[in-house]
């Protein structure tokens, strides 16, 4: 039996989500028994010209060249997975949609600008149809495995739409609000096993909000904990700025 052909690609991102798989350890050998890895720039130099069974696409789309490459991958892939925050919600890169281009370029490059044209940042589903989404900055290796196994077994899989608090309570962490901190866990999409809070950090909302967040209620809670409205907005939109841009398909 031929193994399903799996490939990893990246657009605008730090490639940290692919690194999560490269670093997965011995389990990677088990995965390689199940799938044929045909392209993955971080771990191999071979290329593939045929069809992909599953394509994991990391990164956001911010120029026409990327959009064209993504459309080509969509056409050649049976299953396309938006892989990581930048692909899923635009990620931190989406913050630039709110800043004027001149201001952005002078802030980052000063007078050294001579780079490629970048335009409005979009998540992958804003450009092509996506079959599955793995959220997170970075993705959670356990969730990656869960999706990969579900695809290979042909069973249904959906990203969690529960708040981060759900798993945080499973893990019996002391609530960050009781520890004098504020945390975006109550309105952030879970599935990460409350990774940050387990390790003593607050939730920054890297997976974006749940499908139907009570944003006004969450703002009230943060206001009562002394945060200013501008800071609240900045926190809530740190990973989701790109979602305000319209779709191009």
């Amino acid at each position: 039996m031929t193994r399903p052909k799996v490939a990893f690609f990246d657009f605008s991102c730090c490639e940290g989500c692919q690194l999560q798989v490269a670093n997965i350890g011995e389990t990677l050998l088990d995965i390689l028994n199940l799938v044929e890895l045909v392209e993955f720039r971080e771990v191999m130099s071979e290329k593939w010209s045929g069809r992909y069974t599953v394509t994991f696409a990391e990164g956001s789309i911010n120029n026409e060249e990327s959009a064209q490459k993504l459309r080509m991958l969509r056409d050649r892939s049976d299953i396309l997975v938006a892989y990581g925050s930048c692909a899923a919600t635009g990620g931190v890169i989406g913050m630039q949609n709110r800043i004027s281009r001149d201001n952005l370029i002078s802030t980052v490059y000063g007078d050294q600008w001579g780079g490629e044209e970048t335009r409005t940042v979009r998540a992958i589903h804003q450009v092509v149809k996506v079959d599955y989404t793995l959220y997170g900055c970075p993705i959670n290796p356990a969730e990656f495995l869960s999706l990969l196994k579900a695809i290979l077994c042909g069973i249904s899989w959906r990203a969690s739409d529960n708040a981060v608090c759900v798993e945080c309570k499973f893990n019996e962490n002391v609530c960050m609000y009781d520890r004098g901190a504020t945390c975006l866990g109550p309105i952030t999409r879970g599935g990460c096993n409350s990774w940050c809070v387990n390790n003593g950090n607050v939730c920054y909302g890297c997976r974006g909000m749940v499908d139907n967040p009570n944003r006004a209620g969450a703002e009230d809670v943060l206001l009562t904990h002394g945060l200013k409205p501008e800071l609240i907005a900045a926190k809530m939109e740190m990973y989701t700025g790109a979602l305000e841009a319209g779709n191009v398909k």
């Binding site: 389990t27 088990d30 995965i31 028994n33 199940l34 495995l145 869960s146 196994k149 579900a150 290979l152 077994c153 069973i155 739409d161 529960n162 708040a163 608090c165 759900v166 309570k169 499973f170 019996e172 962490n173 002391v174 609530c175 609000y177 009781d178 520890r179 004098g180 866990g185 109550p186 309105i187 749940v210 499908d211 139907n212 967040p213 009570n214 006004a216 209620g217 969450a218 009230d220 809670v221 009562t224």
Partner: protein, 344 residues
């Protein structure tokens, strides 16, 4: 023998005796005044004074995630049932949490019986501990009649001035008392001290909200369309804290988890919550409780109306965990007070 005394200086030896036999779990301190039940090896790790733990002891009776069966697709008709069993002694369980375990026992013994829950239950020994005072202002145990021991334990400890008064409720409890050889007979002085404590408690613990236990279900019936529910709906973030920490919430989801060879795998039971948006969504996308207001109202009615109709007891233990863990400030006692006020 149904009562005994344990001198305070022998409590450490009793804990050591328990540890020598089985895994012992008891309340231990976490950061910022919180506690959890966790494995301990000696008395000095245990908090004898504690506010209700973040998660109630239900995590030992129906863990957050637990295996129900193992499957092998090459032998499709040979699924193997799994019950992850472990002899466990739960030490220092307050009366509110004993009431919570009692509620779960009722539900999982109802038809169809839940063999996983009941098998686990058989492996757990419970040693209760009386609250001589209120733990904090979130508690509502007097309103819910759970501030005094009413069974559901093997042994029950009440702290007196220089000893613990021990109620022995089961053969297992009696065996522990006999085998450890650390206990004394009850004295008349100890009896007197216990009676004094209990009468003091009857004065100290009075219904925290002005309503009688038996009148609570009717209050909820009459306030189904109250504005209180829409106010709760505006505040609620649907984070699911209130149900996770509730000692009587038992809803779960079933998920299959394949192994990496894809042919074998496990079927798991995972806690779910009526507060999660997808909980009441069915095929076709219909959601019976799409609004947060409906979900909060449903949670309260499960505690104070629906299960009373079915099982003849309220399914709130007054432990106060839901109020403590709600960052939006939804408070159980204030909600009941608001309903009373609105009904007039």
């Amino acid at each position: 023998m149904h009562q005994a005394l344990l001198s305070k200086r022998r409590l450490a030896d009793f804990v050591s005796y328990l540890v020598s036999g089985h895994k012992l779990v008891a309340p231990v301190p976490l950061q910022d005044g919180h506690f959890k039940f966790d494995e301990v090896h000696s008395l000095d790790e245990i908090s004898l004074k504690y506010i209700p733990t973040i998660l109630p002891p239900k995590k030992y009776f129906m863990p957050q995630r637990s295996s129900l069966l193992r499957y092998d697709l090459s032998k499709i008709h040979e699924m193997e049932e799994i019950v992850e069993l472990e002899q466990l002694v739960l030490f220092g369980v307050h009366t509110c949490d004993l009431a919570g375990i009692h509620c779960l026992n009722i539900v999982f013994s109802d038809h169809p019986k839940d063999p996983h829950y009941l098998a686990r239950n058989n492996f757990i020994t419970i040693i209760g501990l009386e609250c001589n005072d209120y733990c904090d202002s979130s508690a509502g145990c007097a309103m819910l009649h759970t501030h005094l021991p009413k069974g559901g334990y093997d042994l029950f400890l009440t702290e007196l001035s220089d000893s613990y008064y021990i109620h022995i409720n089961t053969q297992k409890g009696e065996d522990m008392v006999d085998e450890s050889s650390l206990f004394d007979d009850v004295t008349r002085a100890a009896e007197g001290e216990l009676n004094l404590l209990r009468s003091r408690k009857r004065e100290l613990f009075t219904s925290e909200v002005p309503i009688r236990y038996q009148d609570i279900p009717r209050l909820f019936e009459e306030t189904f369309d109250s504005d209180v529910w829409s106010q709760l709906g505006e505040k609620c973030l649907s984070c699911g804290n209130c149900t996770a920490v509730c000692p009587t919430c038992f809803c779960f989801d079933i998920v299959d988890e394949p192994e990496l060879d894809l042919s074998k795998g496990e079927r798991l039971r995972v806690w779910d919550s009526c507060q999660n948006e997808a909980f009441a969504t069915v095929a076709g996308g219909e959601n019976f409780r799409r609004k947060r207001m409906d979900r909060q109202r449903h949670r309260f009615h499960r505690k104070f109306k629906y299960l009373m109709d079915r099982y003849g007891r309220l399914f709130c233990t007054g432990c106060g965990r839901c109020s403590r863990s709600c960052m939006a400030g939804i408070n159980l006692k204030r909600t009941i007070s608001a309903l009373i006020e609105e009904r007039g």
